[in-house]
Symmetry: C2
């Protein structure tokens, strides 16, 4: 029951922009072309019903969840799965970009001060959403339910009042009905011939944006309460029904009230003259609210606010879904493995920041234009739909090959038919989307998907190369061979307690050979150190390495390599005294040369780097926090020699 | 000889904005008030000559260089030195912000397309300057000489032509001379009473911006050729003479040609009516070039270009000076010590980026307005001047207390008189600047200086606390006491070659006790590992640690602590097998949990963390770069267990 609100925002928010895109695409061929918009609504509704029915099969067959990526991987192989994964990752980014841009469009329609600053405001909203998610404030289904039901109530009330007044003959025309729409060059004859058919296909492809969000439900099955598949199937049916009703009703009412909605207001004419420069084109839903509640202007603001909020919530769901998918891909070796560590704040943060950054780049590149962003949006969703349906058809065929129970077989065959219809319809829509939108921006989404695919392939390749290299074969003794002697080297910067402790610890390991080594950056200083060293009678000889260029790392590296050359079978253990301070900002104050040296020494075979920490007391008055559970605070602390 | 061009850009570029600020400040009291501007020029010239004479004493007394910070520290103590250092750091930031904003002002005056985008263009220039400096492209004095002499030539030619035409009576009035300047409310009676005197003081304080850049010479003595002090003194005298001539001439000519320059063009009237909205107010120097070369419009562009370039070069000098001062402050323990490492690209880069970021924030905050930024600029310079002069007076008094040679004593007394005059004049100007500009923005510079002062104090305190804690006292045996036994723990994630090598190395150190430890994230997996471990006959017992919450770090930490509790006198050496890959982007793909664990283990006393590296071969076709001199490339590589 509570799963509905969680997924509803993404799925239902599409009605805030899909009808508008249908209308403005048709308007390219002039005012009369727009009349066919309800029929495009019906076509979209048919696809939506088919896709929802297909997905109800999917969630039943894969009750553990996993969504399109799992279905494609299991039934069509890793590459198909990776294509779906690439499509879905791009889809999440576009869900944020499109939803936020649309939300800002509604906000700017109601609040004139926001106009002309849409892109900046949208980036601001994205930043706020990331901060909310970085802070880990997850809304429970209960909290989310309020705006979702409020939006459904607002749209429902608008529709009912409008339909009632239509029946009574008291529904006024919208303000924009007064305009004439001039066809763009090349479309002067309306929807005729190949050009007209192509434009109808394009309008339908834009209307298919109404289906975005359905994939979010099917990929989010793990988030449902048990019984997961049953709940997911019910949610899908409910959301599908509501979405279909909304989209068809909105396009029907837009037609009846004479809504004019165009991409470029220069297409509009008022009694033959262009519209004034300050004319503001409200979104279709807002225009309907204005007409339905004519005389009660506050309802326009209520509907706009409800729609804006639901759109921002839709963007927010991507912030939940993106890290989940990343984690699954990391588990399978397609993304950096640490992304799989669940519950790790740092890992989650990276996902949130990456998603927000890509979405912000898109919003800025396309100036927060919903119409331009939507060209990129639908491709990924339908790639995912199509491959998933193909996978399901394969799934049922495989299952039928072994199933003997006749009742079960009939159920499976019915399911296969549903998924086959889904496959043919989604692949047909995918082709229409590709053909009609490729040059309008869909190619960008395809390039992004291809980049993700190649990147994930490369990561997967790297992991398998590494796994091969480190595989242990018991007959190969090279990695087990015991070094004959241990040569301990203690690095000394100054004579102080950390150095003394490092020498004591090095002595405790009873090496075959033990020496202290220092770099002579300042000859006078190191001569003084050598004198002091002997006076103190420190139980290890001190070797001074020359450094004509005042470097630290290079002389040490050269010396360690010379030991290795002299006695290649020896193990060299380099002991490095390190300051450990309580706060990361204190750590910044300590020389990073130890960290650099350690990193470089790791590249010399046969050398072990041993850090001997000296724990500093915290400065008085500053609380120390070094123990307790894994915290990112402690993790950020780096260690270094003073 | 070549030192002149290096420092000239900062010192001379001030004439591109200082006269403008004098004129627009006086214009607040209306057109007639502006008539006194040449006298303010003379006052500024007197201060400039005095300051230059004073600094010629300083560079002679401190031939090693070191500048105001050294003079104040040596003679007035560390806190005074730190105040000067804070002032100079803020001064460098403002040099960039003011010079770039002024340069963009000239550019926008000549190139209409840049207008209304000044702030963005200025930030772009700052970014370009940082990139040039990050790339390490240092211009030699020889290259810098070209634009500097070009600028001096352009201004000189303008002045000579204008003066000649003035003498011949053929110098035309500037375009803006046609305007009347309306006094702002409260100043209707002109420069009368306390209000008038205060405005004159404010105009003088603005004109003192002409002195900025002199401090750059005195702080840059180390950069001079030998004999340094003689060359620096000569350069100071030359620059002072040129600057004085320029500023007085410009203000004189501006007066004669009737230049009107105001902060807000709504102050201007043309025959009683406001000026048209598209009127562009050119900078004073450009207006003079227009008048002097009336009929040769190209000269306006040449003078504008020369001035813009010299201003950007002035900003560039701050990118050289800021890291030098930071390095000196780091040497003295006031800034993170690694900033002292000369020639380290990474360190230099941090300085450049910090300087650019602060300057960009200022430019954006003040919308690249030179008039608003200049309110912040002069305070720091005069704090530095005043304390430096006070230090010099103290210096001569101390020297006189021991000097017996009468010739020398007379010379010293003369020098003390010069510095005393410098002190009284610079402190008087500092008071005037503080009083007249405090509420106009100087308070921001003072707050920034105070923040820097407190920060550097805190850093210095931290270093002294640490030095005290680690001081080695031979009678205190605690840091030399030898642990009785060594308990070796090898961390195991999987059975692979890196693990085997870590066990072999751990055995080679012949510990009193040796065990392998793994964390049971997945019980089935670890049971399987335990079986395999025994089958392979690996010569170390494997201990499996439970992890109910699938954590890695916490169980290991708890286990290591339990060993320490059981036998507190034992040394625990934790061996961690680590993958070492050839490229940092490959490292991203390996789990960072080893790094985290190492960091956490460093906080447990009596535990040594030993990294046993497994050097991965590079992927075929990708060149490996892991040896050679210290590179930031190699340094970025982090090490982690797979
Ligand atoms: K939808
Ligand atoms: K979506
Ligand atoms: K959606
Ligand atoms: K100057
Ligand atoms: K300066
Ligand atoms: K300057």
């Amino acid at each position: 029951r509570l799963a509905l609100p969680v997924f509803a925002s993404d799925a239902l928010s599409s009605v805030a922009y899909a009808p508008d895109e249908v209308l403005l695409t048709l308007a390219i061929a002039g005012g009369s072309a727009v009349m066919i918009s309800p029929w495009i609504g019906v076509a979209v509704a048919v696809v939506l019903i088919t896709v929802v029915s297909s997905y109800r099969q999917t969630v039943r067959a894969y009750p553990s969840g996993g969504g399109d990526y799992e279905v494609a991987t299991t039934n069509l192989g890793g590459n198909a799965g990776l294509v779906v994964a690439s499509a879905l990752l791009v889809d999440y980014v576009l869900t944020v970009a499109v939803s936020v841009s649309a939300g800002v469009l509604y906000a700017a329609s109601a609040i004139p001060a926001l106009r002309d600053h849409e892109a900046s405001v949208a980036v601001g909203v994205i930043v706020v959403l990331s901060l909310i998610n970085l802070r880990g404030l997850r809304e429970s289904g209960r909290v989310l339910a309020v705006p979702v039901y409020f939006f459904m109530g607002a749209v429902g009330l608008t529709a009912i009042v409008a339909l009632a007044r239509l029946a009574l003959g008291t529904l006024p025309a919208v303000e924009s009905a007064a305009f004439d729409v001039v066809a763009e060059p090349g479309y002067e004859h309306g929807l005729v011939g190949a050009v007209g058919a192509f434009l109808i296909a394009r309008a339908f492809a834009s209307g298919a944006a109404a289906l975005t969000g359905v994939e979010a439900v099917s990929n989010g099955v793990p988030a449902f309460k048990k019984p997961k598949s049953k709940n997911a199937a019910t949610t899908l049916a409910l959301l599908g029904g509501i979405a279909v009703t909304m989209i068809v009703t909105i396009l029907f009412l837009a037609n009846k009230t004479g809504v004019r909605y165009v991409d470029d207001v220069s297409q509009l004419r008022l009694n033959g003259a262009p519209v004034p420069a300050d004319y503001v084109q409200h979104p279709v839903l807002s225009q309907l609210a204005e007409a339905a509640f004519a005389g009660v202007p506050v309802m326009f603001y209520i509907v706009s606010a409800a729609t804006g909020v639901i759109l921002f919530l839709a963007a927010n769901t991507a912030f939940n879904g993106f890290p989940i998918l990343s984690s699954i891909l990391a588990r399978d070796g397609y993304l950096p493995r640490q992304l799989h560590t669940r519950g790790d704040r740092l890992v989650l943060s990276n996902g949130i920041i990456i998603l927000a950054a890509f979405a912000a780049v898109l919003v800025l590149s396309f100036d927060a234009s919903v119409t331009r962003l939507i060209q990129l949006y639908i491709v990924g969703v339908f790639v995912s739909f199509t491959l998933s349906q193909l996978g399901m058809v394969r799934h049922w065929s495989k299952a039928l090959a072994t199933e003997v129970d006749q009742v079960e077989r009939r159920r499976m065959m019915r399911s296969r038919v549903v998924n086959s219809i889904g496959l043919s319809l989604t692949s047909a829509v995918l082709v229409i989307v590709l053909v009609t939108k490729f040059t309008h921006g869909a190619w960008i989404a395809i390039v992004l998907m291809a980049c993700m695919f190649v990147l994930m392939k490369a990561i997967s390749h790297h992991y398998s190369v590494v796994a091969e290299q480190v595989r242990y074969v018991p007959t190969d003794e090279s990695s087990r061979s015991l070094p004959s002697r241990v040569h301990a080297v203690v690095l000394v910067a100054r004579i102080h307690k950390p150095t003394m402790r490092a020498i004591a610890y090095a002595r405790a390991t009873r090496p075959s050979e033990l020496e202290a080594v220092t770099v002579a950056v300042d000859p006078a200083e190191s001569a003084q150190m050598l004198r002091e060293w002997e006076e103190l009678g420190i139980p290890a000889p001190l070797r001074v390495l020359d450094s004509p260029y005042r470097e630290i790392t290079r002389p040490v590296m050269q010396y360690v390599r010379s030991i290795r050359r002299r006695s290649p079978r020896d193990l060299v253990v380099v002991f490095i005294p390190e300051y450990v301070v309580a706060h990361w900002w204190e750590q910044v104050l300590h020389n990073q040369s130890a960290l650099r040296l350690k990193t470089r020494l790791l590249f010399v075979p046969g050398v072990v780097v041993a850090s001997v920490p000296w724990q500093m007391a915290a400065a008085p008055g500053v609380p120390t926090k070094i123990s307790g559970p894994v915290t990112t605070h402690g993790d950020r602390q780096r260690n270094a020699r003073a």
